[in-house]
Symmetry: C2
Subunit: 280 residues, 2 copies
Amino acid sequence: MDRNQLINLIKQKQSFLCVGLDSDLSKIPQHLLDSDDPVFEFNRRIIDATLPFTVAYKPNLAFYESRGAAGMRSLLKTMDYLETVKDECFTIADAKRGDIGNTSTQYARAFFDKASSGFDFDAVTVAPYMGEDSVSPFLAFENKWVILLALTSNKGAFDFQTTGDPEGQKLFARVLTTSQQWGSPANMMYVVGATRATMLAEVRQLVPDHFLLVPGVGAQGGSLAEVAQYGMTHDCGLLVNASRSILFASADEDFAVKAAAEAGSMQAEMKQLMMLKGII
Amino acid sequence: MDRNQLINLIKQKQSFLCVGLDSDLSKIPQHLLDSDDPVFEFNRRIIDATLPFTVAYKPNLAFYESRGAAGMRSLLKTMDYLETVKDECFTIADAKRGDIGNTSTQYARAFFDKASSGFDFDAVTVAPYMGEDSVSPFLAFENKWVILLALTSNKGAFDFQTTGDPEGQKLFARVLTTSQQWGSPANMMYVVGATRATMLAEVRQLVPDHFLLVPGVGAQGGSLAEVAQYGMTHDCGLLVNASRSILFASADEDFAVKAAAEAGSMQAEMKQLMMLKGII
């Protein structure tokens, strides 16, 4: 999915919601555990329930890899299911990869080259620590996206990301500035945590046009209105992720209904924020 | 495998060689392509040929993930094979993972919790960008190791890792200093590229006791003697990795013999360097 298609999808659904499929087997409703593949069953029903309100799905690879081959089968089935509605949603492999060039090329094939790996995500999250040659192999795939970590939503973000250099530029700002030479707003986004909403203004000065993937709204406590205030552009320019607050809105048989309600509520707020900005 | 066992293994084999299993299906000898699982067949013969000279094996996850379910089966069979010689080698998942706490816990299970994922590596490589809470979940597993990226062997290492802060401390030095509060020399190592051998002296001042995993000797051009000169401790304190120079020493039917010769040649040099240091 290219940038124009994504922007059109956002305007059409009046939403910039991304649902994170952090589908923890130990947290899904008990009654699903009898099915052949409980995690896929869970994901399928979450997708059905939330698709009207959602422009992107973001499986978190760790929750599938932790279950070995069975977990990867659940993920493959989930992605095959999303393939049937591929014009209705953008897909992100939340994998935080990044290695030397020939290795990053292999990681890119793992997520983008369906003939090789079975997966055909639109985007993958990448860690910037190893620099340009660890990122550029992902950008060599046409119509695919890198979502580079800049300022994350966790406490550990303050260990290194906010350290300044002698000119006062923080590491996350250096990542934003330097990496703009590697790709464009048409194939790169940045991860910026909602728990750092006021720092979004600083981020937007450096990357006025790039989409930002914003985790941390919901379970982690970030505010949607603040994210829009500091981060929204005339193209929207945001994908706001929620995972646990939607997936585990209920632990009972009504989980899908409650997930739809939670996603619907976020979408309604997003619609208001987009109208205020004159985007729709 | 704990630190003492690793040190004993190094002294007993008179080697600190780690063989990187970057087993690229497109590069393995043609005659293996007829077998059921060519990559596993390749790995098995490489392991048989190099085990006398080698103290660690380091599968590079990207080369398995790029082949989807078939690749992960090759890796699982390889690790089951290494399990049969587990007292003779340390195993490293070269995966460069790292995410917020609850996600890093899942990644740790993917590599350390055999009952959950099928894998029981001794160690996993982790990227430091997201800070303490992205690393500590791996350290919660008893008798398992984190190998944290500090100064990598690629060109992109100069994009961020060597940037100084206002006090002149470079990012990789800050990573080394800060992360010592998270673990100990008994459960953490650091990645330091051999292509930065002279910077090893700087690294050793900051982490005098930790093991260093050193890639970049061989295909990437680093020198073993320089690595020993600047990085070796009285416990050795080094695992030097070679991948392509051993795996692809020959593309013909003699690939295992040539791999053994290359590993043996490196072991012989390592033995000399350890004798010079008085370790053996």
